[in-house]
């Protein structure tokens, strides 16, 4: 998971939180034709649900994210991955809204995934875990939302793979989503995006320690997984942000004339790779990258239920994001225009590349805050503000 690098200290945090789990016994019928069950989802909630149950917002995370989107866990200083945007007075204001962040099925952060115990064998699923899709992730979350007794979500929001889940939510359950905020995402994975994921998967599977996925008794395929993550991190940055962050600076004052990490950028990637191995399951990375490669809501599969979609959209992209470039967000916008769906699209100026959705706080906050305000309250309150 990528961490926001915003330096502002947080006086407005949701504070101590804990990850909860929800298990449903009924089988999940997967897009592959297979079944999975029982399924556990890890999730966190912030703020409180109002009496009408009309203020619930579902936050969806990116590829390696988890349910811990805001606040801190007891005995830990790590804030959630979207700490800057979720909390009292923030974009997703926990004074007003009930925020739910759910981990995805197939993950390794408390939800059922390849590292979970297979009830049939008593051992980790490993490659016996069925293939999952973004639609399957949404279907699992739908069970959670039912369990929480929420009929209609005020908003579903997320960036990158989280944005894909947003688009899938609206396509699967348009009547249950009042508004949607897909950020730095796409209607379909492009060949370039699939290509990066394939290299990522190959680097994991090329590590002998991967053992055809059955490595749980022996430990992670560290080398392969760390290279996989290094590739990811290159695609999250931009040429500009790498120049700013590292330039050609050296870790010591001279070349080693060896294959140690001479340059800061090498050191950074190695550090990121090594850290990732400690917190993310290699098989989960394989399964989830495959799920997003399968993602394709183009050609009429997005909002297939005719013209009656009254979900409002706020679509955000970032100019320097070359992994999920703005033209992919514009494709979402074009699909919405064709269906005459109420939508706002903004391409924000940022040099941070794909990482921008975690880093660019100020402009995203303005857009999201007012968009939610309008969705929740309508125009009337705006008029009274004397604007």
């Amino acid at each position: 998971m990528k961490k926001a690098k915003h330096e502002k200290t947080n006086i407005h945090s949701v504070g101590a939180v804990e990850t909860k789990t929800f298990t449903f016994a009924e089988q999940l019928y997967l897009a592959s034709g297979e079944k999975l069950g029982p399924v556990t989802l890890a999730y966190e909630t912030y703020g409180s649900l109002n009496k009408e149950k009309s203020n619930a917002i579902l936050i969806l995370h990116a590829l390696s994210g988890d349910a811990h989107a805001a606040g801190v866990h007891a005995g830990d200083n790590d804030t959630g991955w979207w700490e800057e945007l979720i909390g009292p007075g923030k974009a997703f204001d926990t004074h007003r809204y009930f925020i739910i962040c759910s981990n995805v099925v197939g993950g390794c952060k408390g939800s059922t995934g390849p590292s979970s115990l297979n009830p049939a064998t008593g051992k980790p699923y490993a490659l016996d875990f069925p293939f999952i899709t973004v639609a399957d992730m949404v279907e699992a979350q739908r069970h959670l939302i039912d369990h929480l007794g929420i009929d209609k979500l005020l908003c579903v929001a997320g960036g990158s793979m989280g944005g894909m889940q947003v688009l899938q939510w609206v396509s699967s359950y348009p009547e249950r989503v009042k508004s949607a905020i897909p950020i730095a995402t796409t209607l379909k994975h492009s060949p370039q995006q699939i290509a990066f994921n394939e290299v990522i998967r190959q680097s994991i599977m090329a590590d002998p320690a991967w053992r055809e996925g059955s490595y749980y008794e022996f430990g992670q395929p560290e080398k392969g997984l760390s290279v996989a993550r290094m590739i990811g991190h290159i695609t999250f940055m931009s040429e500009h942000s790498m120049e700013e962050k590292f330039s050609r600076r050296l870790k010591s004052d001279r070349f080693s004339f060896g294959f140690d990490a001479d340059f800061e950028v090498e050191g950074y990637l190695r550090y990121r790779g090594a850290n990732f191995v400690k917190r993310f399951d290699a098989n989960s990375y394989l399964y989830i990258t495959k799920a997003i490669d399968y993602f394709d809501l183009s050609g009429g599969k997005f909002l297939p239920h005719g013209k009656t979609v009254d979900t409002r959209f706020l679509i955000i992209s970032f100019k320097s994001d070359w992994l999920y470039p703005p033209h992919q967000s514009q494709e979402i916008v074009r699909a919405l225009k064709r269906k005459h769906v109420d939508a706002t699209y903004c391409e924000l100026t940022s040099t941070y590349g794909h990482d921008a959705f975690l880093i660019e706080v100020e402009e995203q906050t303005t857009l999201i805050k007012h968009f939610l305000d309008k969705t929740f309250n309508g125009y009337l309150v705006m008029g009274n503000d004397g604007i």
Binding site: V333, R334, K337, D342, T344, Y345, T349, T366, Y379, G383
Partner: protein, 214 residues
């Protein structure tokens, strides 16, 4: 009482747009025109704007906006998706004016166009006596920093509509603070035209009888 925008062109467009209609504003800026219409006339508003700071301001007002440019931003809208497509003070910044107006007429029942009149007397004076490119109240830019790429007069635009078989439903001529009634091509700084497709107009003019302001 509702607060009117102080700009005369905004007041005129405000009065043209009917309540509860669907409106697309091309080059909507910070939503100065759309917001009073949403607030008072409950229109369903959509803006298109290129400047991202302006988009932030629109969102603060609760308006829906697409970050896009006018020339490519209309293609995907279905036919007659809007009752009005507004292009106020943005047409002169567009290169393919013909295409944009045809597209606007396709997606909107009526198209409201507001533009500065290049044949205003001060422009004529500047060019004729001083031999200099005009800088006027409605065309305030110097030749080297103007965003405008099209320079037209009221007469030019009327000719254009005839040539392109576009029906003019209303014409409004604006001076600095009040409307202009005589010799608009000489005395008006700005003009606002309301246009429709020829067939559309024929269909409706039978019953309603549009007011032609001269």
């Amino acid at each position: 009482m509702m607060e009117f925008n102080t700009q005369l062109d905004h007041q005129i467009i405000y009065s043209i747009v009917k309540s509860d209609s669907r409106v697309l504003d091309l080059g909507c800026g910070e939503g100065e025109l759309l917001y009073p219409l949403v607030r008072d006339k409950h229109i369903r508003a959509q803006g298109i704007e290129l400047n991202d700071q302006s988009i932030q301001e629109c969102v603060k007002k609760g308006l829906s906006v697409f970050h896009d440019d006018i020339e490519s931003g209309l293609r995907e809208f279905p036919d007659n998706a809007f009752d009005y497509v507004i292009m106020n003070q943005s047409m002169q910044e567009v290169k393919k004016v013909d295409c944009v107006i045809q597209e606007a007429l396709r997606i909107g029942t009526q198209v409201i166009v507001g533009f500065p009149n290049f044949a205003h007397r001060t422009s004529r004076f500047s060019l004729f006596f001083r031999g200099k490119s005009p800088v006027t109240k409605s065309l305030p830019y110097l030749w080297y920093d103007t965003p405008n790429v099209r320079f037209l007069s009221i007469t030019d635009f009327r000719d254009f509509c005839v040539e392109k078989n576009i029906r003019i439903v209303e014409e409004h001529y604006l001076g600095e603070k009040t409307v202009v009634r005589f010799f608009p091509n000489l005395f008006a700084l700005n003009a606002i035209f309301v246009l429709t497709k020829k067939d559309e107009a024929a269909l409706k003019s039978g019953g309603k009888g549009y007011r032609l302001v001269l």
